[in-house]
């Protein structure tokens, strides 16, 4: 220990060795907190605006995922809509109308899905940090899930595309499913680290 460091220690008076040990131990044991995922999107947007980043735009990168999601939506709607909502056809004018109670039910489902999604986001934030070392396959799966969720978020927040309630519900349902997978995976990972 140098003279200066010794002086420092003398100045750091008031604590016994045991008290300082406990303080250091407890400080170092304090866990890190994961930031909300939206922060990276903000950073990326600012960095692109300042010309700090090269390569494909974030949203362009996930264009294929978004395209696949739209295709899946169309396919699911084509398959599910007649079974779920059975649109009523007016024989007089040939126009197709959707019964009001079905729309109300969809709204309820949509709200429930949004709440479920929020709960899953919160649960994910409560989990310990990702370990710094992990299997490549696990890291890839987590990355893929995050990318797919990001692509869905992009679709849901894209103001240039007007989604109807049913399309929105399909996206939210898929989001909840992906979030469930992500939380389960991260939970399993946390369990492995703790043992």
């Amino acid at each position: 220990m140098t003279d200066n460091e010794q002086q420092d220690d003398e100045m750091d008076c008031g604590l016994s060795v045991a008290e300082r040990d406990i303080l250091h131990e407890q400080l170092l044991a304090m866990p890190d907190t994961m930031p909300p995922r939206v922060v990276w999107k903000r950073i990326e947007a600012q960095a692109r605006a300042e010309g700090l980043l090269t390569g494909h735009h974030y949203f362009e990168r996930y264009k294929w995922v978004a395209g696949a999601a739209i295709a899946a939506t169309v396919a699911m709607l084509a398959l599910n809509v007649p079974m779920i909502s059975s649109p009523v056809t007016d024989p007089n004018d040939g126009a197709t109308t959707v019964p009001g109670e079905i729309t109300a039910s969809s709204t309820r489902d949509l709200n429930a899905l949004k709440v479920e999604s929020q709960i899953l986001e919160r649960n994910l934030r409560l989990l310990p940090n990702e370990p710094t070392v992990m299997k490549v396959s696990t890291a890839t799966t987590i990355q893929e899930l995050q990318d797919r969720i990001a692509a869905i978020d992009y679709r849901l927040n894209d103001r240039t595309v007007q989604l109807d309630a049913e399309q929105e519900e399909v996206f939210w349902r898929e989001r909840v499913r992906l979030m469930n997978s992500l939380v389960s995976l991260r939970y399993a990972q946390a369990q492995r680290v703790s043992f």
Binding site: N4, D8, E19, I22, T33
Partner: protein, 201 residues
């Protein structure tokens, strides 16, 4: 040095980041976002401010990574940027309130000091987080920089634009305030050990 030291980034990723590759920067962000965000939270205690500091830190990383020579680990370099941003924030907050760093302790009246994290029951867990929350912001920052990040008083003084004695004095006063909580914890630990010894003999 806290969690920053445990994180290793492949030099090839850093080279790609220097070229401005978005994916490389995202990898660096994912590796360091939690420790950087945590520094912001420890200093400001407000998640929105910590998010702003996280953003400012990584924008600075992107702007300056070309100057990173690789002599020290990337984590140490990012940590210094994060700490510097957090301290700049604290300074600006003081300026906004028309106060200086020196009269920070005056805000901590007995009423808002609370219980220093000392539990009413001796068997209750140590609540260091609550005790730290009851310290003035600058003192909390000094404790964190000195005891967790391993900065010397000289370095802290340089970062804060203050003298070394200012840093030492802040740490000393912070320790005095934390002492009742730590002492009760030590007593509880000693009592536990005594009990174990009695049981053994």
């Amino acid at each position: 040095m806290s969690k920053f030291a445990d994180i290793r980034i492949d030099p090839s990723i850093v080279k790609r980041a220097v070229r401005g590759e978005a994916k490389a920067h995202e990898i660096i962000y994912r590796a360091f976002s939690a420790p950087v965000y945590s520094v912001g939270l420890r200093f400001t205690r407000v998640p929105a401010h910590a998010e702003d500091l996280l953003q400012e830190t990584f924008i600075e990383v992107m702007r300056s990574i070309g100057k990173f020579r690789g002599d020290a680990p990337l984590g140490a370099w990012i940590r210094r940027i994060a700490v510097s941003k957090a301290l700049m924030f604290l300074r600006s907050a003081w300026h906004a309130r028309g106060q200086s760093l020196d009269d920070d302790w005056d805000d901590m009246t007995p009423g808002n000091v609370g219980n220093h994290g000392v539990s009413g029951r001796p068997d209750e867990a140590l609540d260091l987080d609550a005790a730290l929350a009851n310290l003035p912001e600058v003192a909390r920052a000094v404790v964190w920089l000195h005891d967790v990040e391993g900065f010397t008083h000289k370095e802290i003084a340089g970062l804060m634009g203050k003298s070394e004695s200012f840093s030492k004095s802040q740490l000393s006063r912070a320790y005095q305030r934390l002492r009742p909580m730590l002492a009760s914890h030590v007593s509880a630990a000693n009592a536990g050990m005594d009990e174990q010894l009695v049981r053994q003999f």
